[in-house]
């Protein structure tokens, strides 16, 4: 917010332009105090913001050098090189050192749903072979919407990482409920909710101590629910049309929750933790025919061709395997040499060969890790569009991981697309967000420096037009002094 605009004057817009430029110059001073969220007792004086003299990336591959974006009441009203800035705008001058991107979209996580405290031992039931649905982790009728909490630490952390929107899945075991689209800001849960897709969330997590506990149990239970729901759906339709002579069809909310899925009106969002779970998800989908979205796919390089051929929308995990402990102590160029030194002719015949064996195993491990890191690039090279999902990842690791993926061959544009346009497309949000265009929601990320550079910092995130500044002490890896602005 410019100091000028804080004290309204009656002078005409034209005269105040010069003053606006002065105010903009003054704006280069640190201005935490002016962040709206931090001081709710200070009255809001403008609902329109303009960011000027910034490098704007409306969508991957497009750049507007020294551009301006204007947004009012959470909607982008103008984007371009030469844009009229409304007289009442809070102007942020990029000083040609800021970049603006569309706010990132987290294709799947639990952000906004705090972890439950004091889990303790799960309760005992009379018969573990036939437990109540809830005890078995089967609550597909539940919704993440009722569990959202804008005060969840993850919300702020993800915002600081540049995320403005997420598909939030409820926590639980195999069928915790329906996921919801959500903005990563709000004074209460309702403000977070975005209307749109509410896929049924499914993961291969068995119940503890009761049926079904194992992955094969989970798969059978899913089939059972689906097929019985299909029967009931047809029965209910028949009964609704003409009940005469028919017993009342059985009803429970669990089976009921499958009806829209069976009708093709709702997708199933499946989290696949590893390559075998990808196969299991695809098996179920092929058998039952529901519309599927696949998330995670860690280590899924071996199934790339299957996934590509299936056309299933995918979001890859932002997680990367930790570097092995031994590699943490080794210089980067030595790591490259170790990798290149792999020799598949090595045989460990006796005690004399154990040193060479160790080196070779280290080599092989680096090569294996490289496959994980290069997976996103591989998907891109294979022409498979993907988004990114942060489930299970710490927000502060996300950008370091992205940089590693880019180092291993993923282009910056492809990475940005995964975070923005592809995610919007996958989640049915393309008409509202994922790009910086007139008419779209004002979800923006402002960085100091080009997004994926090592020392770049995210300085601000806008969610539905509301500004959130990165705190000086946290933020990104690299230097953090405010004077760097």
């Amino acid at each position: 917010m410019s100091k000028e605009a804080a004290f309204p004057r009656s002078s005409r817009a034209g005269n105040s332009r010069g003053l606006l430029w002065l105010a903009a110059a003054l704006w280069l001073l640190p201005s935490e105090a002016l962040a709206q969220k931090n001081s709710p007792d200070i009255p809001v004086v403008s609902t329109v913001t303009a960011i000027q003299n910034a490098r704007i990336v409306p969508s991957p591959g497009q750049v507007i050098e020294s551009g301006t974006v204007v947004f009012r009441d959470g909607v982008i009203t103008a984007v371009g090189r030469r844009v009229d800035i409304p007289y009442d705008a809070h102007v942020i001058d990029g000083g040609d050192s800021l970049s603006v991107y569309a706010g990132f979209i987290d294709a799947l996580s639990h952000v906004g749903i705090p972890e439950p405290r004091n889990q303790g031992q799960p309760e005992s039931v009379p018969d573990r072979s036939n437990p109540p649905f809830e005890r078995a982790g089967i609550t597909p009728e539940a919704s993440a919407r009722t569990a959202l909490d804008p005060e969840d630490d993850a919300v702020e952390a993800m915002r600081h990482a540049g995320f403005t929107t997420a598909l939030v899945a409820p926590r639980g075991r195999m069928l915790p409920g329906q996921a919801t689209l959500a903005l990563l800001a709000g004074t209460n849960a309702s403000e977070m909710i975005l209307q749109g897709a509410e896929p049924m969330f499914f993961q291969f997590e068995g119940a503890q101590g009761v049926y079904p506990g194992t992955p094969m149990g989970v798969m059978s239970k899913f089939r059972q629910l689906y097929r019985e729901a299909d029967r009931r759906r047809k029965l209910e339709a028949m009964y609704a049309e003409d009940p005469s002579g028919l017993s009342k069809p059985p009803f429970d909310p669990v089976h009921e929750a499958f009806f829209p899925v069976i009708a093709g009106n709702r997708s199933v969002a499946i989290w696949a933790d590893d390559v075998l779970e990808i196969h299991r998800a695809m098996t179920l989908q092929e058998e039952l025919g529901f519309s599927m979205m696949l998330f995670g796919l860690e280590g899924g390089f071996d199934t790339l061709s299957n996934v590509a051929a299936s056309g299933v929308p995918v979001a890859l995990t932002l997680d990367l395997p930790d570097k092995p402990r031994w590699a943490a102590k080794v210089e980067a160029d030595s790591l490259q040499r170790i990798l290149d030194a792999y020799d598949d002719e090595t045989r460990t015949a006796t005690f004399r060969d154990v040193e060479a064996e160790q080196r070779n195993l280290e080599s092989r491990q680096l090569w294996s890790r490289a496959r994980y890191v290069g997976m996103a690039a591989a998907y891109h090279d294979a022409g498979v569009p993907f988004a990114f999902a942060s489930m299970g990842v710490d927000a502060k690791d996300i950008h370091a991981n992205l940089r590693e993926m880019i180092g291993e061959g993923l282009s910056s544009d492809a990475a940005l697309a995964a975070l923005t346009t592809n995610a919007a497309s996958m989640l049915g949000l393309s008409d509202r967000m994922g790009a910086i265009r007139t008419g779209m929601m004002a979800n923006l990320v402002v960085t100091h420096g080009s997004l994926f550079n090592e020392d770049t910092k995210i300085t601000m995130t806008f969610v539905n037009g509301h500004m959130f500044e990165a705190p000086a002490s946290t933020g990104r890896t690299g230097s953090n002094s405010p004077s760097d602005r």
């Binding site: 503890q208 506990g213 094969m216 059978s220 089939r223 029967r231 792999y342 491990q365 490289a370």
Partner: protein
């Protein structure tokens, strides 16, 4: 920092991502002593495998151009070994939360990356019947797999066309897991005794029968009445119905003679004649009954005394059963024993004097019959799958060394040329050069996967005899 792949690593990558088509090849094995099992021993004989199938057996066979020729002079060729009781290549083994879980299937949790596949093929095994565990009276469906090491798609190691099978279990395991302690998420449930086991079986079969009848009735009615109401869908009873229809072969973990006979009584009541008793340590006591029923047995070479129900057993079990006309196989039920099943089978020569062909049949044609795959594997005959194992030294000698193993004509084990480290997926984070422990010849826990299953349901891992 960019990791550029070396060409050898790239080659490895290519190899492990080969599709189905690559899993049928050609090879000519020359001048070996061929142990056909069903047609005697042929000296100085060639075996030609074309497109994964045994195309010819004879002398001076000509190799088509480009086909690998293996000089097996002085070596022995036998049919690929078939392990009728394994738990390898699975992500999970026991859905131990219910005494009846017919609906679950090992097909859903096949893990082609499991090192056990290679290690068994290094002992001549080409086919494994990888099974649900023995926690439940009626467990899940099993999966017959081929040891196609290097395949990364679980579907690619399935033995296409192999009949469906299901795991039953009697005796101490299901009664302990369900009935004799409060465990997991609830107190004890039936069965706690062998009486309960029978009733669980009868109840499952009866419910399956009524379910089948209800659906048959519905299908008949639906032909003319569009408002016919189908019965409740039940995945579990669907499988019970398939068992009753004879579409699924029952393989029953059992030990005591009396419970073995009990099951034959129940099966007889429901009109089912195909049964293989697994382990069946006391089967020798009722060998005449089994022979009369046409029941089969798949037994250990010499495991006994680790539980009370195997205290009164004998290593002569396989020999007694064979002599009494029961089709018998020797299995491993172990990630260690399955690497030397040729040696396990050879023990039947010390314990009961079986002949060479009888001993070899225990791990080839007999398990093939028990798994319903005898038309494709189990012996070296023209038209059968090119699943063979080549040994230096007779396979039944303690001094033998398996050197080459082929599955559908594809070499899956090569003692001389395989690298030491044959892992297809390498953990990117684990410590390198780490001591991991061993499975030994007496270990009755199959794998970490099984321990995880047990921890899911039971408070402690102390009771490790899920076997």
């Amino acid at each position: 920092m960019k990791y550029t792949f070396s060409t050898t690593l790239l080659a490895l990558l290519v190899v492990v991502s080969l599709g189905q088509a690559a899993f049928a090849q050609d090879v000519l094995i020359r001048n070996a002593t061929v142990l056909t099992v069903t047609n005697g021993t042929l000296e100085d004989t060639d075996v030609l495998i074309t497109d994964g199938v045994i195309a010819d057996i004879g002398t001076d066979l000509r190799a088509p151009r480009g086909v690998d020729v293996i000089d097996a002079t002085g070596k022995f060729v036998m049919p690929g070994i078939i392990d009728a009781h394994a738990h390898i290549a699975l992500s999970s083994i026991n859905e131990g939360s219910s005494p009846v879980t017919a609906e679950v299937s090992m097909e859903d949790v096949v893990n082609p990356y499991h090192l056990g596949i290679y290690r068994a093929s290094a002992g001549g095994v080409t086919v494994s019947h990888t099974m649900h565990g023995s926690a439940n009276v009626i467990g899940g469906q099993n999966e017959t797999i081929k040891h196609r090491w290097g395949a990364t798609d679980p579907d690619a190691i399935r033995f296409e066309g192999a009949p469906r099978t299901i795991k039953f279990a009697l005796g101490e395991n299901p009664t302990r897991v369900h009935g004799r302690r409060a465990s997991g998420g609830s107190g004890a449930i039936v069965p706690a005794t062998r009486m309960g086991v029978e009733q669980v079986l009868r109840s499952a079969f009866e419910n399956g029968k009524r379910y089948m009848e209800a659906w048959d009735a519905y299908n008949a009615e639906a032909a003319t009445n569009p408002r016919a109401v189908p019965p409740i869908w039940n995945e579990r009873l669907e499988v019970m119905a398939d068992i009753l229809r004879g579409e699924i072969l029952v393989h029953c973990h059992s030990y005591r003679a009396d419970e073995i006979v009990m099951l034959t009584r129940v099966l007889k009541d429901y009109g089912m004649d195909k049964i293989t008793f697994q382990h069946a340590n006391e089967a020798f006591k009722v060998a005449p009954e089994l022979a009369a029923y046409g029941a089969h047995a798949s037994v250990f070479a010499d495991w006994w005394s680790y539980k009370f129900e195997v205290y009164y057993s004998t290593a002569y079990n396989a020999a007694i059963l064979t002599r009494n006309g029961v089709i018998t196989s020797v299995n491993s039920d172990s990630g260690e024993l399955n690497r030397h099943l040729y040696h396990e089978a050879a023990k039947s020569q010390r314990y009961g004097g079986l002949t060479d062909d009888e001993a070899l049949a225990l791990i080839t044609i007999n398990p093939a019959i028990q798994l319903g795959i005898q038309d494709q594997v189990g012996s070296i005959e023209i038209g059968k799958d090119g699943d063979v194992a080549i040994f230096e030294g007779h396979p039944l000698s303690i001094y033998t060394i398996p050197v080459l193993t082929y599955v559908d004509g594809v070499k899956v084990f090569d003692r001389e040329n395989d690298p030491d480290d044959v892992r297809v997926d390498v953990d990117p984070t684990a410590e390198v050069g780490m001591y991991e422990g061993q499975i030994t010849g007496k270990d009755h826990i199959h794998s970490h996967e099984e321990v995880v299953d047990m921890l899911h349901f039971f408070q402690s891992v102390a009771d490790t005899h899920i076997h």
